[in-house]
């Protein structure tokens, strides 16, 4: 059954028939299983991995380390959720180390991201400091290498 997910993870377009061919599991079972996973949330959604740079869209991404003031009896959940709800925020993670939260911010320009950090993010209650790192180039994203694939150097017919 795990094989079904492996196929879908690399090709969300794969039809039940194709998944059945590739895994040897019969088509009706594939259909039922996928429906069950969609219902239970094992499959969250289907999405395309888009290389926006290649599309020509000039988006700007920054990773921002956020320091949160500790307060007795309160964890990080309320601050993290408050940050996560902003449309500009792509990801929020609680991390170990000197800072507390590492968040990913996306905007149309450096100014837009900088304004968001200065005016929204740093103004949130209990956020005491931010450290912003603008992303210069992506080499690998979501387990996917974004560099050009290595050329096939095999001879065309070999024993």
């Amino acid at each position: 059954m795990r094989e079904i997910l492996t196929v879908l993870e690399s090709d969300a377009h794969a039809s039940s028939e194709r998944i059945a061919t590739l895994t040897g599991i019969d088509e009706a079972t594939v259909r039922e299983q996928v429906a069950a996973w969609e219902a239970s949330g094992v499959i969250r959604r289907y999405k395309a991995v888009v290389d926006w740079d290649r599309f020509g869209d000039e988006r700007v991404t920054a990773f921002v380390d956020v320091t949160v003031a500790p307060e007795r009896g309160r964890g990080f959940d309320d601050v993290a959720e408050r940050i996560a709800r902003f449309r500009e925020i792509r990801a929020v993670h609680l991390v170990s180390g000197a800072q507390d939260l590492r968040v990913e911010v996306e905007g149309a320009s450096m100014k837009e991201v900088a304004d968001f950090v200065a005016q929204k993010l740093s103004g949130i209650d209990r956020v005491t400091a931010t450290s912003t790192h603008f992303l210069l180039r992506r080499y690998k994203d979501d387990g996917q290498l974004l560099t050009d694939p290595e050329p096939d150097q095999r001879l065309s017919v070999t024993p």
């Binding site: 094989e3 492996t6 196929v7 061919t21 590739l22 895994t23 040897g24 290595e150 096939d152 095999r154 001879l155 065309s156 017919v157 070999t158 024993p159």
Partner: protein, 385 residues
């Protein structure tokens, strides 16, 4: 001035060049060919192994190693075999690191054969088996396996070829070119036959990690005392160009092989041995992913061939299918040549793997899924035309 007029080696001159060569030359001269003719993985070597070799080169691993190969590598190999096969070889004197299975096979035959000794070679089989027997002074005795019986190593067929001169049986499971993987029962029966006639079993297990119906059946587990185990990293770890493999055999034979190796190859490439060791230590996940990927392609491609009326037993291992093309009325060579020139798909005609391969072609599915699907469309167009 002419070169000396005295004759060259009669043994070598009697062996024809590989029938694969012709198709290689033809395919190389064309653009836009989808090749199903490649006997090696389409994946690059796992990065951890490549990175280890780069580091090794930077730190001077450019020397000879001991003739037997790095002890750490031999220990890793013998421990791995104990784990996966349930057999124990001593790393010190029963395991030799070679430049691929090809060298291991050559050493085995040269250490084993006296002039006139016969080696039974079930076919269709890997193109080098019979020439290597002849180069070592032996007499290859080809025995045709039955495609209708999924190329099973039927002890009755093998047994009928045994004479008082027979010394060994040479075979590979999973097989290049048929992809068939022998069952435990057939290996047991073959071991019994070998015991009865006091024969060696020369077992090429280079595809041992690439099996799709359950696990691999190791020959050494059935007949340790008379098995020469030939293995390596080329196929399962996608390391063909590194030229590193191993051979394991009981001590007296292993030592004779070591003697030839120390005077000829000396050792397998140092940096390749380091890469192989790193692959064994860290690349199991890569291997699992590759095997899962081959398995998906195998299902898609054999189903596609079946729908085109090109029937083949569903292969249990390696990355080959060996469909029958007799329904088209063409010979293997006509089919392969026509498919290449008309539709630009390269396959290998079955007869190059032995006369019983006639009427079949070897297709390698070590190619990305979209290309396999496109190849199926082209094959369909070709046989429909």
């Amino acid at each position: 001035m002419s070169t000396p007029q005295k004759p060259f080696s009669r043994v070598v001159e009697a062996i024809p060049p590989s029938g694969i060569r012709k198709f290689f030359d033809l395919a190389q001269s064309m653009q836009g060919v989808i090749s199903l003719g490649v006997g090696e993985p389409d994946f690059p070597t796992p990065w951890s192994a490549r990175e280890a070799a780069i580091h090794a080169l930077e730190h001077g691993a450019t020397t000879y190693t001991s003739n037997s190969g790095l002890l750490e590598l031999r220990e890793a190999v013998t421990d791995d075999l104990a784990d996966r096969y349930g057999v124990r070889y001593r790393a010190a004197d029963e395991c030799l690191v070679t430049s691929g299975v090809s060298e291991g096979l050559d050493l085995t035959l040269r250490a084993l054969l006296n002039p006139g000794d016969e080696v039974i070679v079930p076919e269709p089989c890997y193109v080098a088996y019979q020439p290597c027997v002849a180069f070592a002074g032996g007499v290859p005795v080809p025995v045709a396996l039955d495609p209708g019986d999924a190329y099973r190593l039927d002890p009755a067929i093998i047994g009928a070829a045994i004479t008082e001169n027979t010394k060994a049986i040479l075979f590979g499971s999973p097989s290049n070119p048929t992809g068939s993987a022998q069952s435990a029962a057939d290996i047991e029966a073959l071991a019994a036959l070998a015991r009865e006639h006091d024969l060696w079993l020369l077992s090429d297990e280079i595809y041992d990690r690439l099996t799709y119906h359950g696990t691999h059946t190791p020959v050494s587990a059935a007949a340790w005392e008379r098995t020469v185990l030939l293995g390596g990293f080329s196929k399962s770890y996608a390391m063909t160009g590194w030229r590193v493999g191993y051979v394991c055999a009981p001590e007296p034979l292993a030592q004779l092989m070591h003697r030839i190796h120390q005077y000829t190859m000396l050792c397998a490439p140092h940096m390749s041995q380091i890469a192989a060791l790193e692959a064994m230590r860290t690349a199991q996940d890569d291997v699992d992913e590759m095997v899962a990927d081959y398995d998906r392609r195998r299902r898609l491609f054999s189903k596609g061939l079946d729908e085109l009326g090109l029937t083949c037993p569903v292969p249990g291992g390696a990355f080959y299918v060996f469909p029958s093309i007799t329904a088209t009325g063409m010979s293997s060579e006509e089919f392969a040549e026509g498919l290449l020139t008309q539709e630009k798909v390269a396959v290998v005609p079955g007869n190059v793997f032995g006369p019983s391969g006639e009427g079949h072609v070897r297709c390698s599915y070590a190619t990305a899924l979209p290309q396999l699907e496109q190849a199926l469309e082209r094959i369909s167009r070709f046989i429909g035309s």
